[in-house]
Structures are given as structure tokens and as C-alpha cells.
């Protein structure tokens, strides 16, 4: 044991005596380990952000998107493709037939951007056109007035509910309820406008699914579809299920109705829609981010291998430089095994020290990124996984062993006479 302790102190003294060289030798490991820590941390943060955003919908929500999508990929609408197969007619069919008994509320949705004018103030914002059932599907806390009723939503009443940011931009601290706003949408050269009564203001909510809920206005679906966008299809439809245990049943009920409505005979291949629960969506998104994380993690570990080669290189130089020392140690009774272990210990100390510095560096950078992202307004968690830290340390030790072994064996095989003779 005293040999080991003496070897460690001796090695650390050597490191201290050659600070810059030791640091440069470790740099590859430091960067590699820091890279792995940062990527794993950011990956976990991003994943939690995405899952958190999606979870805000609630777990008993089913989303219907137009267009088919396979189990593991994102729905086509996410990729920006407009598909026109889902309509209010489908919503009516889902409601009417009684074949989807556990679906309680339906929130069809189309969205767009528009300029909203009130008096002399104007603001560019988003509009969400939906049904009066929307607040039952997704909570919209109101600070003033009310949301539009189911009847108003169905008949296309000329009313609007403002997000808190829009309200502030248009009316400041003044009265908003009862005021008339002009909503104008410009599509190329075509301009469409509607006049709407402000009947409510939503309380500040932050972002849900990466959309700022406060920088938008809500209006009845028909107003958005017909009067502003001039379309008759839906972007998607969210449905609330009365009890979470009926999610799967409701999904298949809805699929059956939609297939009947759309005359689809070769289901599921011929489906022109996709029905998914929030839980499934989280699974899909987690799958994507998991894959991304793993890929980036592998890329970062390439740096570790390069760092290991750097260590091997320097260890070979060290063995050459210390040939006389090796010769002396052998002359006074060190076996080849002892010499090998001494140099192996040295390379492991190099990589482990580098690994620890890399972990600290990675944690600090991850933390700074967390502060930055939070400053940008996202609910980003600072996550350092103990597994990643443990793995990084383990890989550091393994790198030291793997890349230190060859120089160490080389040292152990030196002939003491020749080693002592060397100048």
C-alpha cells in the first residue's frame, strides 16, 4: 500500500512540476467529458421542456390531426404540410352518432396571424379560432369577462377573447371589455378583416407547446375559418375524454367514425388522419429527443477517444524521458509488473483528473445555458444526471487504462542496463 501512496504523491508532484504539459495532455479528456456532460444535461433539459409543454394539455386529451402519420414519427402537420381532410363535418359526426360515448368536449382549431387594431393602437399577433368548448378541453383562466359560449362558437358570433399581452398592447390599463377590435389578415395581396367585440381577457399563462398563450386572441371557429382564412378545414382537433381509462377505447371509436366518414376501406394504411393521446405524443417526442441525445453523446465520446490517443502519445514520451528512472527502479528491485503499474497509474491519474475537471466544466456550462434559456422565457430544468457523471468518470478511467497500457508495458520491458546507460 505504501508503494501505491508513494507512487500517487510522486506522480502528482510530476504533474505539478509540468503544469502546462499536464493540462494540455488532459485537454482532450476534459473537452470530451465536458461535451458528454453538457449534451446529456441539455438533452434532458430539452426533453423535460418538451414533455412539460405537452403535459400542460392534460393527460386525458386526444388530438386528431389531418393526414396519416406512422406510429413513431411526428404528424405531417408538424412538418408544415397543409392537409385539408379534417373538417367541422367530422367534428359533427363524432359528436352526433353516439359512437364515441366517452368524448365530452371538442375543440377544433385553426390558427393564423393577424393585425389587430383598436382605436389608434395596433398589434401583430396570432389568432386561434375554436369552439366554445375550448376552455373545457384546455384550461383558459380569465382575468376579465368570459369566454365565448358553445352557441356563440357554433354560430360564429363576432366576439373575441384577448391574450393578456394583446390586451396590454391595445388598451394599456384602460377598459377592454365591450370594445370593438378590427382583425385584419393579409395573405399576399388579399386582405380580409372582421370586427369583433371583446368579451373576455385571458390571464397570463406563459408558453404551452412552444406557443405564447398570452400573445394571441381567441375567436369562434367559423369566424377564423370562413371570414379570415377562407377555408373549411381544420388544423387539428382536441377532444377531452371523461375518464383517462377510456383513452384507448375512445381513440379507436374516433378512428372508426372518421374512417366511415372518409370512406376509408383499407385502414389503417389508408387513414388520412391520425388520432393520438397526449401520452402517446409524449412518448413520440421523447423517442425523438432520446435518439438525438444518444447521437450527440456518441459524437462527444469521439473526443474522448481522441483525448485518449493524446494521453498515449504523451505517456510514450514520458517513458522515453524517464528511461533512466525506470532503469534505476529496476536495478533496486522493481519488477516489470511494478513499473507497468506505476505508469498505468500515472495515465489513469491523468484521465481521472481530466475527467473531474471536465465534469466540473460541463456542469458549469450546462448551468450557464440553463440560466440563458430561462432568461429567454422557457421553463428549462437544470438536470445533471448522476448516471452521466458516473459514466464519464468510468470512461475516463477506462481511457487511462486502455491508452496507458501500451506505454506502461513498453516501460516495464525496458532492459535496466540499457536504461541506466541512456543519457
Amino acid at each position: 500500500m505504501h508503494t501505491l501512496r508513494a507512487n500517487i504523491t510522486q506522480t502528482l508532484k510530476g504533474f505539478r512540476a509540468r503544469k502546462s504539459r499536464t493540462f494540455l495532455t488532459m485537454l482532450g479528456i476534459i473537452i470530451g467529458v465536458a461535451g458528454v456532460i453538457i449534451i446529456v444535461s441539455l438533452g434532458a433539459g430539452a426533453q423535460q421542456l418538451i414533455v412539460g409543454q405537452v403535459s400542460k394539455f392534460g393527460s386525458n386529451i386526444i388530438a386528431v390531426s389531418p393526414g396519416k402519420s406512422n406510429e413513431n414519427g411526428p404528424p405531417a402537420s408538424v412538418l408544415g404540410v397543409r392537409i385539408t381532410t379534417l373538417t367541422m363535418h367530422d367534428v359533427q359526426a363524432l359528436k352526433d352518432t353516439g359512437s364515441v360515448p366517452h368524448a365530452t368536449y371538442f375543440a377544433p382549431l385553426v390558427r393564423g396571424s393577424a393585425t389587430v387594431i383598436a382605436g389608434r393602437e395596433s398589434v401583430d399577433t396570432q389568432f386561434s379560432a375554436t369552439s366554445g368548448e375550448y376552455p373545457f378541453v384546455q384550461n383558459v383562466p380569465l382575468s376579465e369577462g368570459r369566454f365565448f359560449s358553445i352557441d356563440e362558437g357554433a354560430t360564429g358570433a363576432q366576439v373575441a377573447v384577448l391574450g393578456s399581452d394583446v390586451r396590454t398592447a391595445l388598451f394599456g390599463t384602460g377598459e377592454a371589455l365591450g370594445k370593438i377590435i378590427k382583425v385584419t389578415r393579409t395573405d399576399g395581396t388579399q386582405t380580409t378583416s372582421v370586427l369583433l367585440h371583446v368579451i373576455g381577457v385571458a390571464a397570463a399563462q406563459g408558453t404551452v407547446f412552444f406557443q405564447n398563450q398570452d400573445d394571441q386572441i381567441y375567436m369562434p371557429i367559423l369566424v377564423g375559418q370562413r371570414q379570415l382564412l377562407g377555408i373549411n378545414y381544420l388544423e387539428f382537433l382536441r377532444v377531452k375524454v371523461d375518464d383517462i381509462t377510456y383513452i384507448d377505447q375512445t381513440i379507436s371509436d374516433m378512428e372508426n367514425v372518421l374512417r366511415r366518414e372518409h370512406n376509408i376501406r383499407n385502414a389503417p394504411e389508408g387513414d388520412d388522419f391520425s388520432v393520438r393521446s397526449t401520452a402517446e405524443l409524449i412518448k413520440v417526442l421523447s423517442g425523438i429527443t432520446d435518439g438525438l441525445r444518444m447521437f450527440l453523446g456518441v459524437m462527444a465520446s469521439v473526443a474522448l477517444v481522441v483525448g485518449g490517443i493524446g494521453i498515449m502519445n504523451i505517456m510514450l514520451v514520458t517513458v522515453t524521458e524517464r528511461t533512466r528512472e525506470i532503469g534505476l527502479r529496476k536495478a533496486i528491485g522493481a519488477t516489470g509488473e511494478r513499473i507497468r503499474n506505476q505508469f498505468l497509474l500515472e495515465s489513469i491519474l491523468l484521465t481521472v483528473t481530466g475527467g473531474i475537471v471536465g465534469i466540473l466544466f460541463g456542469v458549469i456550462v450546462s448551468f450557464l445555458i440553463t440560466i440563458g434559456v430561462r432568461y429567454a422565457g422557457y421553463d428549462w430544468a437544470f438536470i445533471i444526471s448522476p448516471t452521466a457523471v458516473g459514466l464519464a468518470l468510468g470512461v475516463s478511467i477506462a481511457t487511462g487504462v486502455v491508452f496507458g497500457l501500451y506505454p506502461a508495458i513498453k516501460a516495464s520491458k525496458l532492459n535496466p542496463i540499457e536504461a541506466l546507460r541512456k543519457e
Binding site: T3, R329, I332, T335, L420
Partner: protein
């Protein structure tokens, strides 16, 4: 009591298919407590002979009995153990570890002996024996050449070896420091330690009690020194 018995030792170096014989039929017998100088011009084979005697190298042929045991078939690890427990080396160029204290340098051989629990006390005693107890905490590069060689002698002494091999121990020293080193070696021999010195310098060799002269790989003469030179401890710098 017989310590070393070399019988018909031969050494041939094989290099790129060419055999170079270095030692021919060497026969030497060393008793406990002797002080022998191996002399010879460079290239005579005296260093090779010392390497074989010190278990740093193996003979090509012949038998080597150490303390009555035939060591010819010993493995590398067994030879390492003999070097560690029974042999002490002093080299021309000191070979102290840099960035390491005098005491740690002296204790170094004990680190390779797992049966030794306390490395400090024997190292301190060895330093007292060479008169350097007041330099224990110094770094090996903070002391003079003569002191370095004395530290090296202390290191050779720390495991209480059966024999100390000194390869040109005064070669890198001024005459005063050299005299001190020789004085220490003679003092050690006076207390019964067997010492084998390798040198090309007759004056240095005459500090021993017996001179073996090697030329062209053979022992040319093996004689007792009529009147041994006694070295004075001249250096009193500390």
C-alpha cells in the same frame, strides 16, 4: 564464508546475427567482508562482469552461486527480489529521482519490499551512516554532487544488503568529494560490509583490499593490495 562463486562464466552478445563474445571463462570467488576493485580499460568487459554479478544481466554460460544458491535458473522476478533484498548499487551518475526529497530517495528500495512496513526509520539510519541526516528534507537537486553520491550510498545501504556494487562512484566527483565517498565505503567495509568497486583508475582501486584486473574479457590478474590506501574524510562542508 563464501558469498559469491562464479564458475566458467561466459557472456556473448547477439546483435543482428553477429555474436560478440565479451567474457570468457570467468572464475571469481568472493568471501563475506571483502573489498574488491574490478579494474580494466574501457571495453574490457568489467562493466558486463559487474552487471552479471549484480543480477542486472545474465551470463550466457557458466554457474553463479550467490550465498550458496545457484541463481542461473532464476526468473526475472526472482532476480528483482535478490537485487531488492541482497544487493545495493551506487552508480557513477547518482541516479537520484528529481523533485523528491533525500529521505524519499533513500527509502525508494524499501517501497519494492512488501515485508517492510516502516520505510522511514531505516532510511534515516542509512542517512546517518553517510553523515547526511541534516539533509533529509532537501530536494535531491538542492544538494552538491558529493552529497548526491552519499545519498546514493545511503540508498544502497537502506535494505542492509549482502554486497554493495559501486560503478565508478567517484567518476563524476571532484577529488575531495571522491575521497569522502571512498572514506564512507571503507568505513562500511570496516564494519563488515562486502563491497565490489568497478573503476578504471588505479588510485581508486587501491582503496580496495583486492584488485581483479580484467582485459579483453578475461581475468588478467587477481591479487591482494599490499598496502590499502586509506581515504580521509576531507569534506567538512556540512
Amino acid at each position: 564464508m563464501n558469498l559469491i562463486q562464479l564458475t566458467d562464466i561466459k557472456k556473448v552478445y547477439h546483435n543482428e546475427g553477429i555474436d560478440t563474445p565479451v567474457l570468457f571463462d570467468i572464475n571469481i570467488s568472493v568471501e563475506v567482508g571483502e573489498f574488491i576493485a574490478i579494474m580494466g580499460p574501457s571495453g574490457s568487459g568489467k562493466s558486463t562482469l559487474m552487471h552479471i554479478l549484480g543480477f542486472l544481466d545474465r551470463s550466457t554460460d557458466g554457474k553463479y552461486f550467490f550465498d550458496g544458491i545457484d541463481t542461473t535458473t532464476f526468473t526475472d522476478n526472482e532476480l528483482a527480489v535478490i537485487r531488492n533484498r541482497r544487493i545495493g548499487f551506487v552508480f557513477q551518475s547518482f541516479n537520484l529521482l528529481p523533485r523528491t526529497t533525500v529521505l524519499e530517495n533513500v527509502a525508494l528500495p524499501l517501497l519494492y519490499d512488501d515485508s517492510v512496513k516502516d520505510t522511514k526509520t531505516p532510511a534515516e539510519n542509512a542517512l546517518i551512516a553517510v553523515g547526511l541526516q541534516h539533509r533529509m528534507g532537501y530536494m535531491s537537486n538542492q544538494i552538491s554532487g558529493g552529497q548526491k553520491q552519499r545519498v546514493a550510498i545511503a540508498r544502497a545501504l537502506v535494505n542492509n544488503p549482502a554486497v554493495i556494487f559501486a560503478d565508478e562512484p567517484t567518476g563524476n566527483l571532484d577529488s575531495k568529494s571522491g575521497a569522502t565517498v571512498m572514506h564512507i565505503l571503507q568505513t562500511l567495509n570496516d564494519t563488515g560490509k562486502t563491497i565490489i568497486l568497478v573503476t578504471h583508475d588505479r588510485v581508486v582501486a587501491e582503496h580496495a583490499k583486492r584488485i581483479i584486473f580484467v582485459r579483453d574479457g578475461r581475468i588478467e590478474s587477481d591479487e591482494l593490495v599490499p598496502t590499502q590506501r586509506r581515504a580521509q574524510n576531507i569534506v567538512t562542508e556540512d
